[in-house]
Symmetry: C2
Subunit: 206 residues, 2 copies
């Protein structure tokens, strides 16, 4: 047990350590940094964290993280509302938005099918996707999941669910290196993979 000579410091280090990828030494460095900085810095950080967790909601339509019932993207009338891009979580939305290549709406699954982690189709926002495709007159669904076995499995599951009700189903081009997470792809590669998307049937033949 490390002795920090201060319960306040010990507390802050303990809490910072619970964040993913932050160990004891990093937590201590962050805490000492906050002590040296102006009081307003620690207050702004602490309050932004508390408010984030207490006030955040999910978009009722696409399940994106939002400040209100409808997220900025769903509420934007200039977006193409007959095309949906299916993503795993909101980090993928940010990545795709940054390419500037996509102007439709999104649908956040909240994960991908992964039997190893005990995540089945029932844990994902698939039912609401099917409903949206039916009720919103969706012309095309673009599947933008990670290029892994789990991503492919999820693609196939969704494909079977909507092939009869959606005229076009595509996946983003495999410009993204196979086995890599979407989050780390560079913007050019990710942008091209959206432009060069392929009909889903075509990807099955390979």
């Amino acid at each position: 047990m490390k002795s920090y000579s201060s319960k306040l410091l010990e507390n802050a280090v303990h809490e910072l350590c619970r964040l993913p990828g932050i160990g004891q030494k990093t937590a201590l460095r962050l805490a000492l940094h906050l002590i040296r900085e102006d009081r307003s810095v620690a207050e702004a950080l602490g309050n932004s964290i508390i408010r984030l967790r207490n006030e955040i909601v999910y978009c009722k339509r696409c399940h994106n993280i939002s400040d209100s019932d409808l997220c900025d993207i769903c509420a934007d009338p200039s977006r193409h509302s007959d095309i949906l891009c299916v993503v795993e979580d909101m980090r993928d939305i940010i990545a795709i938005e940054n390419t500037g290549q996509y102007h439709g709406l999104f649908h956040v699954l909240g994960g991908i099918i992964s039997p190893m982690d005990g995540i089945g189709p029932g844990d994902l926002n698939v039912e609401s996707l099917v409903e949206r495709v039916q009720s919103e007159g969706i012309r095309e669904v673009i599947m933008a999941l990670q290029a892994t076995i789990e991503g492919d499995t999820t693609n196939f599951y969704i494909y079977k669910k909507i092939r009869d009700i959606c005229p076009h189903i595509s996946t983003i081009a495999r410009g993204v290196s196979v086995g890599d997470s979407l989050e780390y792809a560079d913007e050019v590669t990710l942008g091209r993979s959206i432009v060069n998307r392929l009909p889903y049937e075509q990807t099955l033949r390979k």
Copy 2:
């Protein structure tokens, strides 16, 4: 400019990014982690950060970070009160305490002399060190600064200030690799370097 679809999230990411070593992607990962976790996690973290900065004080005697006027180490009657270990900041105290090899008191300089960074002797707690050596009947001062040019310069400056009023002045053995920061030394090496400390005059001859 990245679009996060939520001002709350944008705010939290912005504040997390101001921490040293935390970039945009890491900040976003941390924020999303907090959203997924229980509400109490974000509240405990946020409050511990705010309380840390608002309520922390420095020990009036050794300048260590503390919850009260006198830190736990200075207030501990079982410590040897006639021996002082001079360190740069409180991370070094934690490192030395973890070796279990030292039972005296500390004195935190708050930095080291570094003309390149504009830090001179006047910015450090040197005057109070001289006062302590005189008034507390200090028998030995151990200098435990980093093994760099700046550390050596600071050692020499302090040596000149106290050589006439302190019977024994030593530096920790250079078991710590030269050029390395104290914080990253393993406990055995750091512990041995305290046991094998050398009279300061002896280090000048080399």
